[in-house]
Symmetry: C2
Subunit: 343 residues, 2 copies
C-alpha cells in the first residue's frame, strides 16, 4: 500500500487549481535523526511506485537499512491526481495540463513540509523520472546533493516530442475514445498505441537477436501482445494522455527566471550529477545528455552499453540493473560539496 498527502488549492503552472491535489507516495526505510539519508526516486510514464522497487532492497545501493527512500507517484498515473480519479470539473479529458515542475512542487511540499527534510542525499529516476530529477536539481539547487538521471534528459527533445505526438494521434484515433468522454476504455486505441511504443522501446538489435526470449516470449507477436499490450491495456486512456502531455512539455529551461536559456539552467545545478543514458535508446539517445552535461558544473555521463534501448532502465535485464545499481552505489559513496552557484 501507499500513502497520500493532500495539497489544498494546488495551483498548477497552467493556472488551473486542483483542490486538493493528491500526491501518492511510498517510503522505504527510516529517516535518520539528522535527516540526512533521504533519497527521492520519482516514477516513469505509466508506472507507479512499485515500478521502482527492483532498485530498492537490502544489499542494493538503495538499501532501506541505510536510506530513507521516497517514491512519489507521477500526476496522471492513476494514484496521484489523474483524469481517472479527479472529480468534475477536472475529471477525465477536462483534467488540466500538469508539468514536470508541478510534480516537483508537490513533491517539494511532501519533502519539506511533511517530512521536514532540507537536503536530499540523492534524487534519481528513469525516463520521466529523469525529467523530474533534472528539474529538482534546477529548481532546488541547494537541496539536491546528488542527481542520477537514467534513460532521460533535462528536456524532451523535438524528436522525442514527435514520438509522443504519434502516440497521442494513435490513441485518440479510436472512435471509442469519444473525445475523452468514453464509456469504456478505447482498447483498440490502447493496443495500437502499444504497437507504436514497441518499436521505440527497445533497439533494432534487441529485436534482431530475439532478446525478448529472455523475457519469456516465444515469438515477436507474443511479445507485442504479452509484453507491450499488457503493459498498457489496464491503463486509463485519459491518464496516459495526461502523462504524455507532462512528458512532451518537459524542459528545465522554461523554469521561471531562466527565460528558456538551457545553458543557464544547467549551469545553475549545484548537485553532483551522474547521467546514465542507454547506448541504443531511440527516444532519449545518449547525445541528449552528452550535450547537456557539458554545461553542468559537476556533471558526468556514463553510457550504459548494450542493446536494450530505452528499456535498459526498466530493470528487466540483470546486466543493466547491476550497472545502474553500481552507479548509484558510486554516487552515494562520493563526498559532496555543492558546486558554487553561478550568477
Amino acid at each position: 500500500m501507499h500513502d497520500i498527502i493532500e495539497l489544498p488549492a494546488f495551483e498548477l503552472e497552467s493556472g488551473a487549481v486542483l483542490d486538493p491535489a493528491r500526491l501518492a507516495y511510498k517510503t522505504y526505510g527510516e529517516l535518520n535523526s539528522a535527516r540526512t539519508n533521504a533519497v527521492l526516486f520519482p516514477t516513469w510514464f505509466a508506472g507507479d511506485h512499485t515500478s521502482n522497487e527492483w532498485l530498492i532492497g537490502p544489499g542494493k545501493a538503495l538499501d532501506p537499512r541505510t536510506y530513507f527512500i521516497i517514491v512519489p507517484n507521477l500526476f496522471g498515473n492513476g494514484l496521484s491526481s489523474s483524469p481517472s480519479n479527479t472529480p468534475a470539473p477536472h475529471d477525465r479529458s477536462s483534467f488540466p495540463s500538469v508539468t514536470i515542475r508541478d510534480n516537483v512542487r508537490a513533491q517539494h511540499h511532501l519533502i519539506t513540509e511533511h517530512f521536514g527534510i532540507e537536503r536530499l542525499a540523492l534524487v534519481l529516476g528513469c525516463s520521466m523520472g529523469a525529467l523530474q530529477t533534472y528539474q529538482w536539481a534546477v529548481s532546488h539547487p541547494d537541496m539536491v546533493e546528488r542527481a542520477l538521471p537514467f534513460c532521460g534528459a533535462p528536456r524532451t527533445s523535438p524528436h522525442n516530442a514527435v514520438f509522443i505526438e504519434s502516440l497521442r494521434a494513435t490513441l485518440t484515433l479510436d472512435a471509442a475514445y469519444e473525445g475523452g468522454r468514453y464509456r469504456s476504455q478505447p482498447l483498440g486505441g490502447i493496443r495500437a498505441f502499444a504497437r507504436v511504443y514497441a518499436g521505440w522501446g527497445f533497439s533494432q538489435a534487441f529485436y534482431w537477436e530475439e532478446t525478448y526470449r529472455q523475457l519469456g516470449f516465444a515469438s515477436l507477436e507474443e511479445f507485442l501482445t504479452g509484453f507491450w499490450e499488457s503493459n498498457f491495456i489496464d491503463q486509463d486512456a485519459n491518464d496516459l494522455l495526461a502523462m504524455l502531455r507532462t512528458w512532451q512539455d518537459a524542459d528545465v529551461s522554461t523554469t521561471p527566471g531562466l527565460e528558456g536559456d538551457i545553458e543557464r539552467a544547467l549551469g545553475s545545478i549545484r548537485a553532483k550529477v551522474l547521467a546514465l543514458p542507454a547506448e541504443k535508446d531511440l527516444y532519449f539517445p545518449p547525445e541528449d545528455e552528452m550535450r547537456a552535461v557539458r554545461h553542468i558544473p559537476h556533471g558526468e555521463v556514463r553510457v550504459i552499453p548494450g542493446i536494450w534501448g530505452h528499456l535498459t532502465g526498466g530493470g528487466a535485464n540483470p546486466v543493466d540493473a547491476a550497472f545502474i545499481d553500481a552507479a548509484i552505489r558510486h554516487i552515494l559513496a562520493s563526498p559532496v560539496t555543492l558546486a558554487p552557484a553561478r550568477t
Copy 2:
C-alpha cells in the same frame, strides 16, 4: 506519362492469380544496339517512377544520354496493379499479398521479354527499392552486373517489421477504414499513420537541429502536416497496406531453393554490390547491411554520413544526393567480372 505491360495470368507466390497483372514503368534514354547499357531502378514505398527522377538526368551518373534507365513501379503503388485499380475479386482489401519476388518476376519479364535485355549494367534502389535490388541480385545472379542498394537491406529486420506493424495498426484503427471496404479514404487514419512515420523517417538530430527548415517548414507542426501528412494523404489506404505487406515479408533467404539460409542467399550473389546505408537510419540501420555484406563475394558498404536518417535516400538533401550520385558514378565506372557462382 508512363507505359504499362500486361502480364496475363500472373501467378503470385501466394498462389493468387492476377489476370492480368499490370506493370507500370517509365524509361529514360535509349537502349544501345548491344543492349549493354540498361539500368533498372525500382521504386520505394508510396512512391512512383517520378520519385526516382532526382537521380536521373544529363550530367548525373544516371545520364540518359549514356544509359537506358528503366523505372518499374512497385505493385500496390496505384500505377502498377494495386488494390485501388484492380477489379473484383482482387479489388480493395481483397487484393492478394504480393512479395518483393513477385515484383522482381514481373520486372524480369519486362526486361527480358519486352526489351530483350540479358544483362543489367546496374540495379539500384532506395528502401523498398533496395529490397528489390537485393532480390534481383539473388534471383538473377547471371544478369545483374552491379547492384547499389541504398537505405535498405536484403531482408526486413524484425525491428523494422515492428515499425511496419505499428503503421498498419494505426491506419486500420480508423473506424472509417471499415475493414478495407471504405466509401471514402480513412483520412484520420492516414494522418495518424503519417505522424507515426515522422519519428522514424529522420534522425533525432535532424529534429534537434530543426533541419526541416531547409525543406521550407517554419515549425515542427508545420513539418508534420505540410511534409508528412501531405506525403500520404492522397494515397489509397489499401494500397498503403498492400505495400506494407510486401515490405514486411521481404527476405532474400526465402527465395525457393535457399531454405531460409541468408548466408547462402548472399553468397550466391555474383554482382559487384555497393551498399549505401545512412548513418542515422532508424529502421534500416547500417548494421543491417554491415552484417549482410560480409557474406557477399564482391560486396562493399559505404555509410552515408549525416543526420537525415532514412530520408537520406530521398533526394531532398543536396549533400546526400551528391554522395549517392558519386557512388553510382563510381560503381558504373568499375569493370565487372561476375563473381564465381558458389556451389
